[in-house]
Structure formats: structure tokens, C-alpha cells
């Protein structure tokens, strides 16, 4: 029962009782306007709501932080409603930035009502929306509430930055021309070696200095072929590697880094696949081009850190899903026990790069206790982990998330050239 209804009803009874007790007919008469008021409310009381609620969202596929327009249309397929309140319930992670997400109006039978507002959403895949509809008589003594569900799809993918070309050197490449050194002589830019002149070779390729030193033999320069490669991205979504602070979650940085790296390698024509390893293993099969970028971004939009006791360790990482001798890029804040697994990948023949958002620096930035002993010990432990990986031929990017990823990759990878395939692994 609504409070105004109770107030009117109790007023009517109160007046009548007072009139009867005081034997004052004039007092009883005062209840008549209230009875008329109640009568009007009963007369106009809504019995059922027959509405058709549709929602349009444009654009439906956006990067995080971009404004999205939501348009809600309500069509009345039933009787006229004196007062209709429509409240669009925003899912968690969506913030309204402009316009209004609720309306109140008189809706005649067959008429429609539209309203628009602008939202900003956090990364995610938003599928279900709820619209709260409250119909009432014009005096608002009786109300009928319903929740309508619409299934418009909004995908908010992580924002990514353009990176300079990341130098990798996987043991195996594909047949198509690309930017990655293929460890095979042929047409390219970087000098690879020399071989004896064969009929048909261009004179421009002849190494005249070497020919001058030899005994009537000619040699030609051979360059290293550049091809495309398979790159497998692994995003560590284990809850125990994630850090959450007031300013956000470290996992968000991992997701953004994955998006940037995927974009970078796909732009160069490489085949890129993705594995999100956390509460479950979600995978995007190897592919290339814009459609593959969309597939990866959609998967990243859905990625969330979670707990799965079977996947607590990287031990169960299914590396066999990546092509043999391909490049693997692990994006993880790293735990000490992960070293052995990463080294096992190296020993299996993969070229491995680790992009590691620094949890120690992140924690220190947010907690403002960068000088205490615990911080120094954590930092030392992390440096030890990274050092071990570097010594075993793993390209390691230690990314302080308050700095651009571009800078971290440039600084780190330029000092750690891609390791040759036959590099020894210290196990």
C-alpha cells in the first residue's frame, strides 16, 4: 500500500469517526472531497501494462572511454496510462554522462515515448538491460510496477596504444613476406652471408671485395629473408596475480597491453592467437587481419580475473595449442613459481617474451610506502625472477604501469636482443 493512499483512507475514516463521536454532521461532510479523490484514483487505477520497450545503442562496439548513445523507445500497446515512469537501470560498470535515463510522461493508448542519453562504459560485454516501468493513476495512489528486459549487445573493448614494431625472432616463420627475420638467406635487408655466384644471379649482388681476394671465383651477397610469424598471446587472468587498488586493477593494464601487442603484430601481417588463463581458459584461434583483431578485442572485453583451483599454477598452460617454435608472449605480473613453466616453454622450442606489469611498483605507487623494508624485499625478489628469465633467453619487459608500455618495451627489448633459438636454457 502506498503512503498517500493510506493517508487518504485513514483521513476519511478519522473524519467520519470524529463526526460520529462529536455528533457533528458538518465534520462528516468534510470527508466527501477525500472520498471523491479516492474514487477518482480507483477509477483511473492501471490494471495491466502492455508496453513494447526497445533499445538502440550506437555504436555497439566501442573502446573504453568513448561515449555511447542509448535510445529507449516505449510503445503503449494497452490502455492509456495517466502517469508512466520509465527508469533505465544501468548495469554495473556503466556511467551516465549526459541526458536522463528516466522519464515520466502521460502515455495514451498506441502512442510512444522516446528518450536518449549518453553513457560511458568500462571494459566489458553488456548483454542484458532492465527497464523499470511504473504505471499509476494521475493521483499516484495506485501503482503497478514491471521490469522489462532488453537484450541489446554492447561490447566495450580495452583501449590500446599504437606501439613501434616489436622485434622478435621466433625459430620458425611462415612463407609470406613480413617484418620478422626468417633465419634463411634470400631477399631481404639485413646481410645474411655469401655464396658462390650462380648463373642468373644479378651483378648487383656480387660481393666484389670478396671476389677480388679469391682465385677467379665470384661470390654474391645473401640477405636474410623477412617473413610473418605465429604469435601466441597468453594473458594471465589468475586472481592471485592480480592487484586491486582504489585507482583500479592491475589486470586492466595486462588486458590493455595484450590489446596493444595484438594490434601491433596483426598490423604487420602476423598470425596472432590468444589464450586467457584464469578462472577458465578462453581461446581465440590463430588468425590474421582486422577480423582477427576484432575477435581478440571481443575476447579481451570479456576477460576477467578469477579463481579456478585447477588453474592456480601455469603448470597446466596448454602450450601445445600454439604452433611449434612460434613466438609466445606472456602478459603476467609473474609469481616465483612461474619461472620453471616459462623456462619449460623455452626448452620446448618456443621464443618467449614476458610483458610483466610491475605489481611491486604498482602497490608502492598506490600505498605511498615505497621506502619500507617490505617494499625493498619484494622488489629484490621480483628483480631476481626477472633476472633468471633474462639469463635463460626470455625477453622480459618490466612494465611500471605509470609509464607508457611503448617506453618499457623500447627500453627493455632494445637492450635484450631476441635470443637465438639454439640458446642454452639453464634448468
Amino acid at each position: 500500500m502506498k503512503m498517500p493512499f493510506m493517508l487518504i483512507l485513514s483521513s476519511i475514516f478519522g473524519i467520519i469517526i470524529l463526526g460520529v463521536i462529536s455528533l457533528h454532521a458538518d465534520v462528516v461532510v468534510l470527508s466527501i472531497p477525500l472520498v471523491a479523490y479516492l474514487f477518482a484514483a480507483i477509477l483511473r487505477r492501471p490494471e495491466e501494462i502492455k508496453l513494447s520497450v526497445t533499445r538502440e545503442i550506437y555504436p555497439e562496439y566501442v573502446p573504453e572511454g568513448m561515449p555511447v548513445t542509448v535510445k529507449v523507445t516505449v510503445l503503449n500497446q494497452g490502455a492509456s496510462i495517466d502517469e508512466l515512469v520509465i527508469e533505465d537501470i544501468l548495469p554495473k560498470g556503466i556511467q551516465q554522462i549526459d541526458g536522463t535515463s528516466s522519464r515520466i510522461a502521460l502515455l495514451e493508448a498506441g502512442s510512444k515515448m522516446e528518450f536518449e542519453y549518453t553513457i560511458e562504459a568500462q571494459r566489458g560485454d553488456y548483454k542484458g538491460y532492465e527497464v523499470l516501468v511504473k504505471a499509476s493513476d494521475f493521483l499516484q495512489l495506485f501503482e503497478l510496477a514491471l521490469i522489462y528486459r532488453t537484450s541489446t549487445h554492447l561490447i566495450v573493448y580495452p583501449p590500446y596504444t599504437k606501439l613501434d614494431r616489436i622485434k622478435i625472432r621466433p625459430p620458425q616463420t611462415h612463407g609470406f613476406a613480413g617484418p620478422i627475420p626468417a633465419r634463411q638467406g634470400g631477399v631481404g635487408i639485413d646481410f645474411w652471408g655469401v655464396r658462390e655466384y650462380q648463373t642468373g644471379d644479378s651483378q648487383r649482388q656480387i660481393n666484389w671485395k670478396l671476389a677480388a681476394r679469391s682465385n677467379q671465383e665470384l661470390y654474391v651477397n645473401v640477405f636474410e629473408q623477412e617473413r610473418v610469424a605465429s604469435v601466441g598471446l597468453i594473458v594471465d587472468a589468475r586472481l592471485r596475480t592480480n592487484l586491486v587498488s582504489q585507482s583500479g586493477s592491475l589486470f586492466e593494464y595486462s588486458v590493455r597491453a595484450a590489446a596493444s601487442v595484438a594490434e601491433n603484430f596483426l598490423n604487420d601481417g602476423n598470425r596472432v592467437s590468444l589464450l586467457i588463463y584464469g578462472s577458465e581458459m578462453s581461446r581465440v584461434f590463430s588468425g590474421y587481419g582486422k577480423s582477427q583483431r576484432d575477435r581478440i578485442l571481443r575476447a579481451l572485453a570479456n576477460a576477467n580475473p578469477g579463481v579456478n583451483y585447477a588453474l592456480e599454477s601455469l603448470m597446466h598452460l596448454p602450450t601445445q595449442i600454439f604452433p611449434a617454435k612460434s613466438q609466445i608472449i606472456l602478459i603476467s605480473s609473474l609469481l616465483p613459481e612461474d619461472i620453471a613453466i616459462i623456462l619449460r616453454m623455452r626448452s620446448q622450442g618456443y621464443a618467449v617474451m614476458v610483458i610483466s606489469p610491475d605489481p611491486v611498483a604498482y602497490e608502492a605507487t598506490t600505498s605511498q610506502e615505497a621506502n619500507d623494508l617490505a617494499y625493498r624485499m619484494a622488489n629484490a625478489e621480483r628483480s631476481f625472477i626477472l633476472q633468471q628469465l633474462r639469463e635463460n633467453g626470455v625477453q622480459t619487459v618490466n612494465w611500471r604501469v605509470d609509464q607508457p608500455l611503448e617506453l618499457a618495451i623500447r627500453e627493455t627489448v632494445s637492450h635484450q636482443p631476441a635470443i637465438a633459438f639454439n640458446h642454452m636454457v639453464k634448468m
Binding site: L18, A36, R44, F138
Partner: protein, 168 residues
């Protein structure tokens, strides 16, 4: 539009009750009516979310007090009707406060004002009838008439609702 009507209704209610009580030399009640009206008006102007129901009850009490002190019943009825309208419109204003100014909002306000005016006018006119028509009834007959009236009221509501549905 609604805002101005609410202000007017509060002032009128307060004025009617004050004047009627001054005429009866009940100055304390008159002052109470003026102060209550002033506070309601002030809160309405400042916050738009005044405790409407409280002021409605206060004015209802003052009206009942006036009736018990034999103030002219048409005045008391008018005061009660205006109080009821002011209460309803101030609630309505709270509901539409966040709504942006638009044609649909104006239409909603207009329709609401029209329907409310009709409702309270009918209530006022019906309530005036007993002041001019006096019947002497046996209590049992009165109860029977009351029962009959309630049945008629119920039937008429059902009939009218059905009519409205068909006309749609």
C-alpha cells in the same frame, strides 16, 4: 505552471483558515494557519521537496477544528479542497522535478491539473449538497442508505472502468 498553482493553493488555504478563525476571534489558530502556510510555502520555494503530507495533515486538522467550532462549512470545505489540491500538486511536482522542460512535460502537467480540478470540484460540489439539503433519517435507514450507496459506488466504478476500456 504547477509551481505557481501550488504556491497559490497554499496561500489560499492558509488565508481562508486564517480569515475564518480571525472572524471567530480564534487568533491563535489563525496565527498557526499563517505560520504553517508560510513554512510550507518557504520549503516549497526552497527545496521543492517539503514534507507535504505533514502540512496536509496540519491543515486538515485545522479544518476539522474549525468545523468543530462551527465555522461556516462552505469555507471549511473550500479550505480542505484547496489543501488536498495543494498536497497533490506538490507531490506531483516532486515527481516531475527531475524531468527536463519539454512539450510532453507541459502536456502531463496540463492534463494532471485538469483532471485534479475536475476531481476536487466534483468533491466540493457533492460535499456542499448536505449543507443545503437536510434529511432526517432513522439510524437503521441511514445504514441501509449507506450500504446502498457503497454498492452503487462499487458498481459505478466497475461500469466506468469498463466504459473507459471499451472507448480505448
Amino acid at each position: 505552471m504547477t509551481t505557481k498553482i501550488v504556491y497559490g493553493l497554499i496561500i489560499l488555504t492558509s488565508a481562508i483558515l486564517a480569515v475564518a478563525n480571525i472572524a471567530l476571534q480564534a487568533y491563535l489558530i489563525a496565527v498557526l494557519a499563517i505560520i504553517s502556510g508560510a513554512i510550507w510555502l518557504l520549503l516549497q520555494v526552497k527545496t521543492k521537496e517539503a514534507p507535504h503530507s505533514l502540512f496536509f495533515v496540519v491543515f486538515l486538522g485545522l479544518t476539522l477544528l474549525g468545523s468543530l467550532r462551527n465555522l461556516p462549512i462552505p469555507f471549511m470545505l473550500l479550505a480542505l479542497t484547496l489543501d488536498l489540491a495543494a498536497w497533490d500538486l506538490s507531490r506531483f511536482q516532486t515527481r516531475i522535478n527531475s524531468e527536463e522542460q519539454s512539450a510532453s512535460k507541459t502536456a502531463l502537467e496540463l492534463k494532471h491539473a485538469q483532471k485534479l480540478a475536475i476531481t476536487v470540484s466534483i468533491g466540493f460540489v457533492i460535499a456542499l449538497l448536505p449543507t443545503y439539503v437536510h434529511l432526517s433519517l432513522n439510524f437503521v435507514v441511514f445504514l441501509l442508505v449507506l450500504l446502498l450507496l457503497m454498492l452503487i459506488l462499487r458498481k459505478s466504478i466497475l461500469y466506468l472502468r469498463k466504459e473507459v476500456k471499451i472507448s480505448r
